[in-house]
Symmetry: C2
């Protein structure tokens, strides 16, 4: 008799964004004329940059001709993409990361979800609270988190690291020592960043205890402050304790094209076992490479023209962030994030619960955001707005919130 993986049954209720979609649908049905502005889900709205579009067309033509057709991609990614990433994202920033240590994939979400597979079931994980749900959920499904305590909104065997107004939404080093530490900076959902000194402390802590840091740098392109590290490998010793995830989704608007990569340094070991060969084996066995044409699109992001264009998109979104941040601040809200990240983290007014504020915003301003409590218990009384909207609609949304 086949048996299902019962760990899946521990996952609480429906996914955050499904619940949001349901509430919007119901409201829209009752108010068919309502003009709803969505600043909830973190999806981009600007079209793919012209240099990238051109690269896509060229690669499509190659696939249509017998002389230039390409079949299976190399498991770990095309050399042309891995080497430009190594050079532009790492070596030019003083990080010693070789092309061979870069694994091309169909996105950081997949890699963040899959990475736990190369670790033993006995590892104890630590995550920020609030947190991007994939880190915990993928470990729940694997059976690494213990039972769900629905009252606390937490899994018994996970170490949660509160990110609060008091600590500037940057977690403190935990007392209980975790084996695997998920960190995401610039942070989703709070928009907080971690300075180099603090990140070095985490690296030192991980090396001292033999922990591995799983560093999600999906939003590094949004860093405006020159002192904030873009990569964990800017810290000394990180090659011995950290895996880094990067994405083209927010950097270059690839949410619908699907491209990302993961860095696993050759020195990195877990209790004496090198992790590079394990991740390579996982890639080779359970994955079959990102499409050739998408890898060419990724390469075009690093051309001078491509870089200029995607930096223009990032600047566009960051101007949205500024408009939201300043508009809400002037209206008397307590806001953070939005300076080195495309997310604005808003304290709900008058001690309102996150979902109460969601309902109020939807009903009174026809604006949709994401309730902070959906990211964890310490997200309660907070609310996330994203800068990925259209300019005019973003301005209109801020104006409506101010009038509330």
């Amino acid at each position: 008799m086949a048996k299902a993986n019962q760990n899946y049954l521990k996952l609480p209720g429906s996914y955050l964004f499904s619940m949001i979609g349901k509430k919007i649908g119901e409201y829209q049905q009752q108010h068919p004329d309502a003009d709803i502005i969505r600043l909830g889900i973190g999806d981009v709205t600007q079209p793919i940059a012209p240099a990238v579009i051109r690269a896509l067309h060229e690669a499509v033509d190659e696939m249509g001709s017998p002389d230039t057709f390409r079949g299976y991609a190399p498991d770990l990614g095309y050399e042309f993409l891995r080497s430009v990433i190594s050079r532009k994202d790492y070596r030019e920033r003083g990080c010693d990361i070789s092309a061979e240590e870069i694994f091309i994939s169909d996105g950081a979400k997949c890699d963040c979800g899959n990475i736990q597979e190369i670790f033993d079931m006995e590892n104890r994980i630590a995550v920020c609270d609030p947190v991007y749900p994939v880190y915990v959920d993928s470990n729940v499904m694997a059976g690494r988190t213990g039972a769900y305590d629905s009252e606390a909104g937490r899994f018994c065997d996970v170490i949660y690291m509160p990110c609060t107004e008091q600590n500037g939404f940057v977690p403190e080093l935990p007392d209980q020592i975790p084996d695997l530490i998920y960190l995401c900076f610039p942070n989703n959902p709070t928009g907080a960043v971690m300075g180099k000194g603090m990140l070095q402390e985490w690296v030192d802590y991980a090396r001292l205890h033999g922990s591995v840091i799983l560093y999600d740098a999906a939003y590094e392109a949004y860093i405006s402050d020159g002192e904030i590290p873009h990569s964990i490998y800017e810290c000394e010793g990180a090659r011995e304790c950290a895996i880094e995830f990067r994405s083209f989704s927010k950097t270059a608007g690839f949410t619908g094209l699907r491209l990302g990569f993961t860095v696993v340094p050759k020195e990195l070991k877990a209790d004496g076992i090198a992790l590079w060969p394990l991740w390579a084996r996982r890639h080779g066995t359970k994955y079959n490479g990102a499409p050739y044409i998408i890898q060419r699109a990724g390469e075009a992001v690093y051309s001078d023209e491509g870089r200029r264009q995607v930096m223009g998109q990032v600047a566009y979104y960051m101007e949205n962030a500024r408009i939201i941040y300043e508009g809400l601040k002037e209206a008397g809200y307590t806001v953070s994030g939005g300076v080195n990240a495309p997310y604005i983290w808003l304290k709900t007014p008058g001690g309102m619960k996150s979902w109460e504020f969601f309902d109020a915003l939807l009903e009174r301003a026809n604006v949709v955001g994401t309730p902070g409590s959906g990211f964890g218990p310490h997200g309660e009384h907070y609310f996330r707005l994203t800068a990925f909207g259209d300019r005019e609609r973003t301005m209109e949304a801020v104006e409506r919130i101010r009038r509330m």
Copy 2:
């Protein structure tokens, strides 16, 4: 202290195709002028069909315009693709499979590798011997197979079902009852097919014992015999016991574009737990959808023009298969497969070991194939040739083998 997943260390040696690549490289280095013909790896060589290329260009243009840009795809795939698959691949064949039961992915290899995650660790798997390595390897990595017996070339807790000349390379129902049964027909590597009567016996067996059949139908487009089922859902009761994997890789030459899908019927349960929600949750948490432009390419395969063009490619490869099959048969070899599948399964002459024959073929004919023993102990003394080459080169390869 972080601990690695030690199950990975049970995986024997290097991957079959890496070993082949190494041997070719060494030979080429010693004989720089040798003109090697590769009929080893199962990668296609014909360019993407014009109708599909056109759909790709159109979709790329959509991504470059603000009005038609698309961000995140729906987790389970775009409705336009799911519904055409449901209609053309299933309903038109009399199989009751709805669009909602189809999960779009980046390929059948990924899905075949990932599917085991929704099952409990205690399930006992059964595989054919010889077999496509991904089924076993993904279970080894998850820890479901026990230790490796290097003398037998087998994992202790796996049920191996011999596919031999005696049983026409179609496995018999096993005495030990498996929980999960991997079947692949038309078969890789043997090219064998399973008739509807026999497949119905497997479905009945699975229903009787509460087993789940994981049916890999990646090569269904190569079936020429009208009596051979294209889908397991042509059998009565299969909705209650089977998951089916499909691929665009061999059907339409998408090995470099990456597109496939998996069918999980709503009725399907494992010990009372419905599997559709589990696979949907896995998709939503550890995956982020196939690229929009690739899904549009997939849709174009089902247009009248696209269908005609990809059927032309399949016919081209099947003519290669006929040339290899008949050429080797006339030369006195014992051959099978090649009629309803793009693989020719060849008995090595004079009781040669598979790798001995590989070396002889490489050295004396400069032709590369795949040693049968790489697919399992019962593949020893066999050899796989693929029909995915260029016509002229395929004819040349056969001629060289005949002259050996």
